[in-house]
Amino acid sequence: MKQLFLNSSVFASRSFFTAVMLFLMLFLSGLSSHTVSAELLVLYPEIRAPFSKIFEDISAGAQEEFRGRTTLVSLDENEVALPIVKANRPDVILALGQRSVLSLELEKNQVPVVLGAVNDARYPFPGILMIPDSKVILEKLIMLSPAVKRVHVVKKTPGEDIQLLGASEFLASQGKELIIHQGADIREAAAIYAELTKHASSGDAVWILQDGSFVNSAILSMLLDVAWKKNLVVFSSNPLHVKHGALFAVYPDNRKMGASLANLANRILTSDVDQKMSPLQDVLLAVNERTGNHLGLSLSSKLRDEVNLLLPAR
């Protein structure tokens, strides 16, 4: 019994050894195909601190997530990327910021491109915009202030605004309503804000769009004053608004965004990927605690866990 056992174990160990060797060979060849042959070239603009930190963080996130070797190259103004691409022979390029896309001289480029850190959805590349997904913002609104019933938004351009994509449907699914106001210029927008806040009451929220809601400091000040008096929720995707008294804003989680971009790059190497830019899912949350307290929102520990930046401390 014992002998048999030994024999079988010897046999077993031999076949085990063979299996391990085979696995290692396969693994190493697989590994080498990733570590040696999969090359990601990250191009990002050389800009001054502290702005440069954004690109550093995105790049670091991408580097962590990409299954292969990553090379980071910063580009000076008007620098052409073709020599860099030729020198590095990447399998995929992650272009960050508009300067990087332009530097590629796309008519000469044969390497697949993933694009990040831009805010124009018309680029025909797989990529992620700096514009947050409306659903992501509105989920934060519902988490922080579930009592909100109506969300007002003033938009600049007629037609579709990517920031509002899916917003109406999402709010409807939560039993809430999106009311879109449209202004042709800042004067009209100011009048719209005045009018909507005049009739607004607790349960109304105002959503300030990125570069699309005509909000200058005078309008914001007026809006925040009325919001304070009437207990309205004001939110946006600009943390500076939070510093001044908006309840919350989302802003990009650069590292995670970098990881998501690297995932796109990973996928591009193995399968088809939609050639379109998607809104940003990876966001951080800034909350004005003073405003939250004024609105009587209980920023309990559950919420605090979700809040990345609590302002202002004064």
Partner: protein
């Protein structure tokens, strides 16, 4: 592997999009999503927002420190409303004066580096050979005016200064810089930050060497002894001695929840100002070697709703003398006079001078555990406990005098060779230790919409003077969207230093082991008004009662004085501050502080602190890469101590200019820094004594100084 070929029309489409835009600025414009440069630093984690502190607090960031051309933390602290940096006669050590609370050695102010006290046991100060602290390692300086013992324990009394060094945040960074200027002053620094895998690091080495400024004093303590004894030993008139050679090194390593820090402050070849005994001694040289390390485990959510921070720290400090320390110069008879006849006890004098070289070695260990619990709605409960062990483990002294003269066969022959009296009964201070255990509890309670109450209390037990309990309350009311009102009440204690409890064999001053801590009660009301986004106005009013002030009181029938809880002072005042971003490139800061404090025992105005202080700063980025910073500081209305016959000390105004050119070449910045532009004759009060002031014309500050700076970073 799949390679994709782009259809030409796609390329054309993308080129069209690109062609729409001005590329040069679009990436930066995109970044404005974050709402400006200030916010981007916060949003990218380069800087942290101020810790929640319902207190009258100020924060100065590294960027602001650079703009004002500061070399030392004192350059920065002088800009804080209600804080004035006066000077001690020994080594020109800083006396951080908050709200009229002034005392030599300045033990009423708690200085922390990264939240850990650097207080020495010997004198309760930051070290007799402090030698300043350079600023390149500093990320920000947080200053709380008023007491903070409920959180920080002992000595968070008149104010708390927390110096936060650059954190290891993983950011790749290298900087090297140097300065050279007046008084043969040379500074250099090299810093490097980055990460290796999950390990983040930041390290810096800083050096400062100076011959010191050479302002003169007309007379000193020896001038007075010369008058009594008919000698001619004084070296006054002569220059003050402020030379020094400093090396500072810091390293921070962060791995996940663990942070390990190490720091070194090496002070060498330091002059002792107007003299250790207020008698000029240009050859005296002191040194101090200070080493600190701390290990912190910080977990924001160890379990649901509960954070945990455990910190162990160690600080080793020394006060050393290079060669002999001459208290009174060669030929002096010393301060030894017959009280009846006023004739010198040693008429032959001391041929090498009166020499007494005291050295003190201390070690401090701390363990602190704190936690925040947020599981109860509308409450944030903080609690913690800690243990401190401080040990003056070595006291050395060599001297050539003894007072009172020995009745037994003397081991010291006055005026004879210097004798090492370390580990004998004749040494100036007993070696001893102190243990402190404490508990604290704090609740931030959202009472109602717009109302928040912070209530905290801390219990401290000391091995040498017993128990103390210090509460603190802060009610914060969001009065309107633009106005916040704070009502603050706090109590504080100041632990007696070892020189006050354990000094022996001193010819003049004796310690008292039965001393109680000094106590302070403070009431404040503060308003923060932000009428628009570009203007911040802060105003506060305060009242305090300072009791059991430790003073040296003359002993009946003898020539000595013994430390007693004798003094009592009250004070009130206001501080006003405005910060205005006039344009994107022009920023103006101003503050005015007024205080009136009374010595209750003598019923006189409290001495030495400025009753009024005015500060103005203009920062103007007048062209791309160019920055001009102008600041002016007026120090006004300092009273003499009761019994001091001198006329009041003159007011002064110092004007500084810093011109900086960034990116002169790739990564290279240059600056020109002028301090005391108009070469104003500025003086800080010298102490009075029973014999009158030893330095009658007060302590002169540096005249005009010019420094050139260059730094390289990538």
């Amino acid at each position: 592997m799949k390679k994709m070929i782009f259809a030409p029309f796609l390329m054309m489409a993308s080129l069209t999009i690109i062609a729409d835009k001005s590329v040069a600025d679009s990436d930066l414009e995109l970044m404005s999503l974050y709402g400006g440069e200030e916010f981007i630093s916060i949003a990218t984690g380069v800087t942290q927002p101020i810790a929640k502190a319902p207190a009258v607090a100020s924060v100065v960031t590294a960027e602001e420190i650079e703009k004002i051309g500061a070399r030392d933390i004192d350059d920065v602290l002088e800009t804080i409303p209600g804080l004035h940096v006066a000077r001690d006669s020994t080594g020109y050590n800083p006396i951080y004066t908050f709200r009229g609370i002034y005392a030599g050695l300045n033990p009423q102010v708690l200085m922390l580096i990264n939240g850990i006290p650097i207080t020495n046991l010997f004198q309760g100060d930051r070290n007799v050979v402090w030698g300043g602290m350079p600023v390149q390692s500093i990320s920000r300086i947080e200053v709380i005016r008023g007491p903070g013992s409920a959180l920080y324990g002992a000595d968070a009394f008149a104010g708390v200064i927390n110096i936060v060094t650059h954190e290891a945040n993983g950011e790749e960074h290298f900087e090297a810089g140097a300065r050279y200027g007046t008084f043969n002053t040379k500074d250099f620094w090299v810093s490097k930050g980055g990460s290796i895998g999950d390990l983040k690091f930041y390290g810096i080495l800083e050096g400062q060497k100076t011959d010191g400024f050479n302002e003169k004093i007309k007379a000193d303590a020896q001038s007075l002894w010369d008058m009594f004894s008919g000698t001619n030993a004084s070296l006054a008139p002569g220059s003050v001695n402020t030379q020094r050679e400093n090396y500072d090194a810091r390293l921070e390593l962060v791995y996940k929840n663990l942070t390990l820090r190490g720091g070194l402050q090496s002070r060498n070849n330091a002059g002792d100002g107007v003299g250790t005994a207020q008698a000029l001694a240009p050859d005296n040289r002191l040194s101090s070697q200070r080493f600190n390390t701390d290990l912190t485990y910080d977990n924001k959510a160890i379990i649901k709703d509960l954070s945990l921070k455990i910190q162990a720290s160690y600080l080793h400090t020394t006060q050393e003398v290079e060669g002999d320390l001459v208290l009174y110069p060669a030929g002096s008879t010393g301060p030894f006079f017959d009280p009846e006849t006023l004739l010198p006890i040693y008429p032959g004098g001391f041929p090498d001078g009166v020499i007494g070289s005291p050295e003190v070695y201390e070690r401090h260990s701390r363990l602190n555990i704190s936690s925040f619990y947020t599981g109860i709605d509308k409450h944030e409960i903080g609690f913690g406990t800690g243990y401190y062990y401080g040990d003056v483990y070595k006291v050395k002294e060599s001297k050539n005098f003894e007072f009172p003269p020995s009745t037994e066969p003397p081991i010291i022959i006055p005026g004879g060779p210097v004798v090492d009296v370390s580990d004998t009964q004749k040494v100036f201070l007993e070696e001893d230790e102190r243990i402190n255990k404490y508990l604290f509890l704090q609740d931030i309670w959202q009472l109602a919409n717009d109302w928040e109450l912070t209530a905290g209390v801390r219990y401290d037990h000391y091995s040498d003077f017993g128990d103390t309990v210090n509460p603190r309350f802060a009610l914060v009311w969001s009065t309107t969207r633009k106005l916040t009102t704070k009502l603050i009440y706090g109590e504080a204690f100041r632990a007696p230093s070892f020189v006050q409890t354990r000094a022996i064999n001193n010819p003049l001053l004796l310690g008292n082991p039965t001393l109680d801590p000094e106590e302070l009660k403070s009431y404040e009301i503060a308003f923060d008004y932000r009428p628009n986004y570009d203007l911040i106005l802060n105003v506060n009013a305060f009242y305090y009662e300072w009791d059991d002030i430790i003073q040296f009181v003359s002993d009946p029938g003898g020539s000595t004085s013994t430390a007693q809880n004798a003094g009592e002072q009250t004070g009130h005042g206001m501080e006003f501050e405005a910060r205005w971003s006039a344009t994107e490139r022009l920023k103006l800061i101003g503050n005015f502080a007024w205080q009136k404090s009374k010595d209750r025992n003598l019923d006189t105005d409290a001495a030495n602190s400025p009753e009024k202080q005015l500060y103005a700063q203009m920062n103007w980025q007048f062209a791309e890469h160019w920055n001009l910073n102008l600041q002016a500081n007026w120090v006004m209305d300092r009273n003499r101590a009761g019994g001091d016959a001198r006329s009041d000390i003159d007011n002064y105004a110092l004007v500084d200019v810093t011109l900086r050119r960034k990116s002169l070449w790739s990564g290279i910045d240059v600056a020109l820094i002028v301090k005391n532009l108009f070469d104003e004759d500025a003086r800080e009060p010298s102490p009075n004594s029973d014999f009158g002031a030893f330095i009658p014309d007060d302590l002169p500050l540096a005249g005009q100084t010019i420094m050139a700076e260059i730094r390289y970073n990538y």
